[in-house]
């Protein structure tokens, strides 16, 4: 388990978080640059603590960027959005936050919370509430396992902050936060949920920051040895490579605050052998013909064949040579309560979830 994150660690974490991001969670490249800058200017490492190090009665909050990755890649963050939201909630509650929790370990959202932690002088907890990335706020273990969505806060690049002190449901929070995020220009900083140490410990998926780093290190090691990393990474995550080929079609729109669409990959040796993948910020279902090979909540990630760098849904384009990794979801996402929220039917697909063997970690 890691105890700190320094400049030497950010590339590995970024590569690993990209692979856990299933196409979403925002750009690891941008947030890595931002994290590096923050590490340099602060002159100290990010302090990482274990979930069980947090006292039951301490107050912690999960943070992340909200919006479509197609937007946040072009509309850069002002940089203090999430810190302002954290401070506004501390002010609202008249209580101090003890530690920052990673809302989603996939994509740039793995790195953003460490920037906030440095800015606020707080440690970050090794773990998250998805073990991957998901497009909507109700789709995390904090919400699935019954923590209160309110109070939560949203902040934009211009100093505007919204606090929601009373919220009927996580779905309601998602609807309000999404429309406000769109009004904020398509990306915003989110602090949600605020919870006690006891609540966090009962619902968090542990050690996923360490996992991201391990995955990244494995991929970087393959690169250094000029080996294609896909198989190594898949094995490390108890998963497999389910397709390799070239992207031959991308249909993507930024609608209702999401990057939605479908991509097609053709096998190198047979153009007609194709895999289709649907996405809503994140990859949701991978099909060959009528057969679903992998669906949410199991992880589907496209990586560049040569270097194992994950390809976000905002960066898909014709001609990329990719491997498609399928990895089993963490066990916390495969309970009946969880599948009701993050299973294929929750995304509108009329197929049963057929879990891959094993768990992510």
């Amino acid at each position: 388990m890691i105890e700190s994150v320094t400049l030497d660690d950010t590339i590995a974490i970024a590569v690993g978080a990209g692979i856990l991001g299933t196409g979403g969670g925002g750009s690891t490249y941008l947030n890595r640059l931002r994290l590096n800058k923050e590490l340099r200017s602060q002159g100290r490492a990010v302090s990482v603590i274990q979930a069980d190090d947090v006292p039951d009665d301490a107050l912690v909050c999960a943070v992340g960027g909200m919006g479509a990755p197609t937007v946040s890649n072009e509309k850069l963050q002002e940089g203090q959005e999430i810190k302002r939201a954290v401070l506004a909630l501390e002010d609202h509650l008249r209580r101090k936050i003890y530690a920052i929790v990673i809302g989603e370990i996939g994509g740039g959202n793995a790195l953003g919370p460490m920037i906030t932690a440095l800015q606020c002088g707080l440690p970050v907890v090794d773990g998250d509430s998805m073990g991957r990335a998901f497009p909507e706020l109700q789709m995390d273990t904090f919400m699935i396992y019954g923590l209160a969505p309110a109070p939560f806060a949203l902040a934009d690049a211009h100093g505007n902050v919204a606090i929601f002190p009373r919220m009927g449901s996580a779905e309601q929070a998602e609807a309000f936060a999404r429309s406000l995020t769109i009004e904020m220009g398509g990306s915003a900083g989110l602090v949600m949920p605020v919870m006690s140490g006891a609540e966090m410990k009962a619902t968090i998926i542990r050690d996923t920051l360490s996992l991201a780093k391990r995955i990244g290190e494995a991929a970087l090691d393959c690169r250094a040895r000029s080996v294609e990393p896909a198989e190594t990474v898949a094995a490390l995550c108890n998963g497999e490579v389910i397709f390799t080929g070239k992207i031959v079609d991308v249909n993507r729109r930024t609608v209702e605050g999401f990057a939605r669409g479908r991509l097609k990959i053709s096998a190198f040796d047979d153009f007609n052998q194709q895999m289709e993948i649907d996405f809503q910020n994140e990859n949701l279902i991978a099909r060959v013909g009528d057969r679903a090979l992998c669906t949410v909540p199991d992880l589907i990630t496209l990586v560049s064949l040569e270097d194992g760098e994950a390809i976000g849904t905002e960066s898909l384009r014709y001609g990329l040579r990719v491997a498609v990794l399928a990895m089993p979801a963490p066990k916390e996402l495969k309970t009946p309560e969880a599948l009701a929220v993050v299973g294929p039917r929750a995304f509108g697909y009329g197929v049963e979830f057929r879990p891959m063997a094993g768990d992510l970690l």
Copy 2:
């Protein structure tokens, strides 16, 4: 000046507020029924105080319903929305509100704040920040004359509340509150702004609740004598009747949270002599041919010819026999600062504001 509002007063205030509503501000009928019910259940009158009765350092807040009248007429309020928003702001600020201020005196929004005042056990101030109704949040004297838009609060029928503790501008507040109102189903309870007694006294338009009652009493008196009230009401407001006829065309859509459209009225004796009126919740500009007879911020209100009942833009329909009243705006809306926000150009019309003679009060 009135000192209280009892069951005996609500019809007159509703009729008068309708006439000041310029087609918007929500249904006076619905809010009068709600106010009557609240007066009966509380067994006491609404206490009305003068603006100058409020201590400089007391905290007051303006309240109102936000959304399109086409929506709020069909999607009834739960009833405690605005009270919940007031309580949430008191809780957020750790301070008590001293009095409720009417955000807009036009339409049902004249009556709603009295319901909130009764529910909260607070007095209501005789005055408002528009002297009429306007569609957007930056269009009131509190915002025009520089009070801070934040903190403000929005609440829906399901117990959800949003507080905006930091907001760059009133236009920004309008954009965020509008998109959240749409997400809340097209109507919401608004508390904005929260201000000191001194700030309120420097910017409020005084005595408009008393004015609404006087207008309503005059119209009711005409009704009792079977006299068409239009001329009497217009004279009382220093205005005039600029057209009478029959509504022959209504084009209305509920878009972006507003009721927008255009209506045509034909003179009784000459179908080809027509007046066209554009509206965005409220009537904005009245034209005969290419000539603008009256524009914002001066007041344009359609009243039923027979009884002087104002016709909201949500209730316009073919065949209604109407008089069109034009009334001069209060002087606070005719300064250069105000015209930049509520003049015809602010609504996209390439015409100068040609003020009617005199002031509303």
